[in-house]
Amino acid sequence: MTTTAAPATTTPVVGFDQVTKTYGSVRAVDGLSLRLYPGETVALLGPNGAGKSTTLDLLLGLKHPDSGTVGVFGTSPREAIVAGRVGAMLQSGGLMDEVTVAELVKLACSLHPKPYKAADVLARAGITQIADRKVNKLSGGQAQRVRFALATAGDSDLIVLDEPTTGMDVSARQAFWATMREQADQGRTVLFATHYLEEADAIADRVLVLHRGRLLADGTAAEIKARAGARRISFDLEGSIEEAALRDLPFLTSFDVSGQTVRIQSSDADATVHALYGLGVYPRNLEVAGLGLEQAFVAITEAEEAKQSC
């Protein structure tokens, strides 16, 4: 497991130490230890039920661990929030209805110990045009932007976002991440959970892969992809395909034929391609490519599943 290097003297922004949280017989978070350092933009990835939401709840003090400790800026999560050091937007976080967007943002500013001007917060979240609209009359994407405004109403050092772009279309998503980058460029630590792996790939400088409440991988997106250790190979074959021979190719980690197209993954693409030519076939449209983060993610979690079932 790779960890981002940071000076040992820096107080971590977030420190989880052997944290466990159980619901009935389900271990939502299982002995989780991790550190986030100032200025990092970190993506939290994991399939549904991996423990992402519970991890964020623990980090924000909405839930308390059964064992282990959670520290934020060296204090308890609640103390960090009271000091105005944390801004957060949750999927499950609702909005007060029957008030306007501007009124709600103004409230968020009054609640923050180090507030920004409400007009600036509205502008930055891109919701100045809908400032006079009632909160309960917003589209999903607009509501997300209002939640983002609430999370950035003041000068917080850590911003936590749970699935922030849910309900946004592609252009809204791009605009959102541009805003988010500005926040990160000002030296803030940003932690976001997402379903969209391309977002993690493009925005995060560190990716945490969570699976069954445990940290499966921790590194840059490139490192995660390398860790999956495989490359994609695809090619077309003419005539009948001798599947058995192809399946015997060395270093294969996955195999799929549809029509005349063969798609395989290999942990040593050079050796696999060499052996392929050794079969005496003429592969056309040969492509060899690295795994995307998404495939790497699937590969890592599947490998873990396999390990657990044996």
């Binding site: 909405l62 929030i81 944390v86 976080g93 609702g94 007060m96 103004k106 409230l107 609640l111 609430l150």
Partner: protein, 252 residues
């Protein structure tokens, strides 16, 4: 410790919202006066309510002012809290420095601001249309007592808001609201009830609540039993609300 400026900001917005909600304003501010006019008109002008020596118009004035205050604080708290617990606003607020109690306090304070006009409107209607006449100290004491007494029901509203959720909160609130109003004798004197209901009514908080105001109308000091009954209910409701609030916080 209460973060007062944060709580004040929330109270302000809660109030803005209450004052914008026409349905809520109608039911808490105007509706009690309507019922007052209807009920008091069915009695002759000099008619007295047994045992009290008060005219029907005077007697009902306290009942309906109490009813109005009850409406404002009970409805204002229970449904909103249940709804905001469910839609996640309570969770979102927990990500701010606002202490959890600040939320309950803001709800109760804004309900109390609405309950004051609902009391006064009934008084004005009674004085103008039904010629109810009292000494200045009585008007002031009535306002103060009915307003302060409504805190008991504000606490009950908070408790209901934390115990019920979703579709259940409205029926529960309505049953409690009409049950307490009618059985407690706010709509018609409990002396007209059958014996068994009268025995029940005696121990209801709404009965004691209206009795406080009636004692002032009779130029008497409020009865210790009524004060004691209300105090016990207040401790019960507020304690229950605090316990449910804590339970909800741990679960959320």
């Amino acid at each position: 410790m209460l973060n007062t400026s944060a709580t004040r900001a929330l109270i302000k917005l809660e109030l803005t919202r209450s004052l914008r909600n026409k349905k809520f304003l109608f039911f808490s501010v105007l509706y009690p006066s309507f019922i007052y006019l209807i009920f008091s008109s069915s009695a002759g002008s000099g008619e007295k309510v047994d045992e009290t020596g008060l005219t029907v118009a005077t007697y009902l004035m306290v009942s309906m002012a109490s009813f109005g205050a009850l409406t404002a604080v009970l409805m204002g708290n229970s449904e909103r809290i249940a709804k905001e617990r469910e839609n996640g606003w309570v969770r979102q607020l927990r990500l701010t420095p606002l202490p959890g109690r600040g939320y309950v306090l803001a709800k109760t304070a804004s309900a109390a601001v609405v309950s004051l006009p609902s009391i006064i409107v009934v008084f004005v209607v009674a004085a103008v249309f039904k010629d109810v006449r009292l000494d200045t100290w009585q008007w002031l004491a009535l306002t103060g007592v009915i307003w302060a007494g409504s805190l008991v029901f504000a606490a009950l509203g908070v408790a209901i808001g934390y115990v019920a959720s979703g579709d259940a909160v409205r029926p529960i609130t309505m049953i409690v609201y009409f049950g307490l109003s009618i059985l407690g004798g706010l709509w018609m004197p409990s002396t007209t009830f059958p014996r068994i209901l009268q025995d029940i009514a005696k121990w209801l908080p709404t009965h004691a609540y209206a009795a406080l105001g009636r004692a002032i109308e009779q130029s008497e000091a409020p009865h210790t039993t009524d004060i004691a009954v209300l105090a016990v209910y207040f401790v019960l409701f507020a304690g229950g609300a605090a316990w449910l609030y804590r339970k909800d916080t741990l679960k959320a």
